[in-house]
Every structure is written in C-alpha cells, then in structure tokens.
Amino acid sequence: MSETISEQTEITESKIPRRSSSRTTARKPKKSRVPLALALAIVIIALVAFGLYLATVDPRLSLFWLIGLCFGFILQRARFCFTASLRDPTLTGGTSLTKAVLIAFAITSVGFVAIQYNAYRMGLPIPGAGYILPISLATVIGGFLFGIGMVIGGGCGSGTLMRVGEGFHMNMLVLVFFIIGLLVGSYDHTWWQLNVIQGAPRVHLPDVFGWFGAITIQLIVIGALYILADRWESRRKSL
C-alpha cells in the first residue's frame, strides 16, 4: 500500500462492501460536542490552577505535576504500552511496541549516562544512585507475578492509570486490586528484605565497565534486541 499509516487510520467512508443489515443497526446518533468542550476547558483550567497552587507549596511539585501530565498525555495518544511490548511478541506476533520501548530505553540510557557522568565528573553525588536496587530472586519472582497480573489486567502501572483516566471500566477494577496488591506487597516486604533481598548485589554498570563501556554495552544489547524483535515479527508473519 502506498498510503502512510497516519492516513490509513483516519476514519473514512467505507470502500469495503457491507450488507445493510449490519450497518443500519450500528450507527448511533451523533451527540453535541459542546458540553464536552466546556468540560474540557474547565478541566484544563483546574489542572493549571492546581499546578500554580503546588508552586506555592514547593516549585518542584509543579514540575512533577507538569511532567506527570505530559507523560500521561503522550502515553494515551501514542498508545504506548509496556504490557503490550512484552506480551504481543508471543501472543499476537506483533513487535512494534517492543521496538518502541527499546528505542525509548536507548534514548533514556544516553540521557541517564549524560546526567550521571556530569555529576561524577564534578564530584557530586550521582543522581538516581538510591534507585540502584539489589538483584535477587525477589526480582525474578516479582517480575513473574507482575507479568501475570499485567497481562490479565490489561495494563502495567502507568497503563492502568492511563486507561482509568480514559474511562475504560475494566481498568478501574484493576486499579482497586492493584492497590490491594501493593498493600499486601508492602506488608510482606520486610520478610523479603530479610530473607531474600539482603546481601544481594547492587550493580551499577559504570562501576563494572567504566562510563563509556557501560553505555556502549547497553546500547549494543538494546540494538541486538531490536534486531531480534524485528526479525521475530517478519518470521511470525510468514508462518
């Protein structure tokens, strides 16, 4: 097809022959969009007002608020989905979101190294060092459990929140149980900390390979996964 994807996804008049029986029942009368536009205007004003209020408490909160809103907007409009990126290769054979996530990882890797290396060079504490968490069996078990939950629930953390905002009912139910699960997890975390996590290694790649080596190796691994994902899709399609 010569058309681009964006042109194809536009809603156009049907060219595929359809029977009238299925068409007439399907159409619903178009509602006025004016109340929706007014509601949207009120919501936008409320969002900005809350951001300004946060600035009076702590300017950083306003920044977090803004980043959060942008993140949610991009997530929703781009249909970016971490769940699908890991689920679709085996379930439907599609890897376009897998590749999107890998590209995002590659870009953020470069950004992280730039920020961290700059702090290191100036002798400052490395930003984000507190988030270098131990790798233990808990990582594997937790990942496995989370994976089951996110495929059944149809969304990871950010995906669930985004779809709740979008108004998809199933994810509202998922959010309730997501919160219950988090509470149970927090309650049991002490046990995991004492029995599994304690003493596990914390690995920061630049400590092992040096700054240049770490980013090179990381980008090579991401690039290899990208090629693998690309081949996986074309292989599945030909089956």
């Binding site: 049907s14 595929i16 249909r79 599609g94 149809g154 998809f168 199933m170 994810n171």
Partner: protein, 77 residues
C-alpha cells in the same frame, strides 16, 4: 456470495480483541468481511495494524463515543 461475520469485543481489553480477530480471520474465505466491534482504544490501533501487515483491507468507523467498528476484508489466505 461472500460471508459477513460480526465479532463482538465490546468491553474487552487488549489483547482479546486482536486474538478474537486473528481466530475469526482464520475461519473466513478470501473476500469475506469481518466486522469487529470494540470500545477499547488500544484495539483501534493494534487490530488495524496487524490486519494491514498481513495484507487485508481495513477500515475503521466510529459509531459512537468511544465505540468503533473495524471492518476487515480478507485479501490473503
């Protein structure tokens, strides 16, 4: 006379609409039309994407607020 099959995936989240589509498409002959009813905005993206990659004719129709129909004409076996 080509068949026309309606698949109802209303209220279903990813990946159910796409899997239902993939299964239904296997049972169809070339020239048949599948109409998929969805209200999950992700399915609006991944179902047409899959069908176009395979090579079918795809159209998307908004039939109400947050409710769409994906119309797929089977082109390749």
């Amino acid at each position: 006379m080509p068949k026309e099959v309606v698949v109802d995936a209303l209220g279903e989240a990813c990946p159910v609409p796409l899997i239902k589509t993939q299964k239904a498409m296997k049972t169809l002959e070339i020239g048949d039309v599948l109409i998929l009813k969805i209200d999950h905005s992700c399915a609006m993206k991944n179902v047409p994407e899959w069908a176009r990659k395979v090579g079918h004719n795809v159209e998307l129709e908004e039939i109400g607020d947050c409710e769409w129909e994906v119309i797929i004409e089977k082109v390749v076996a």
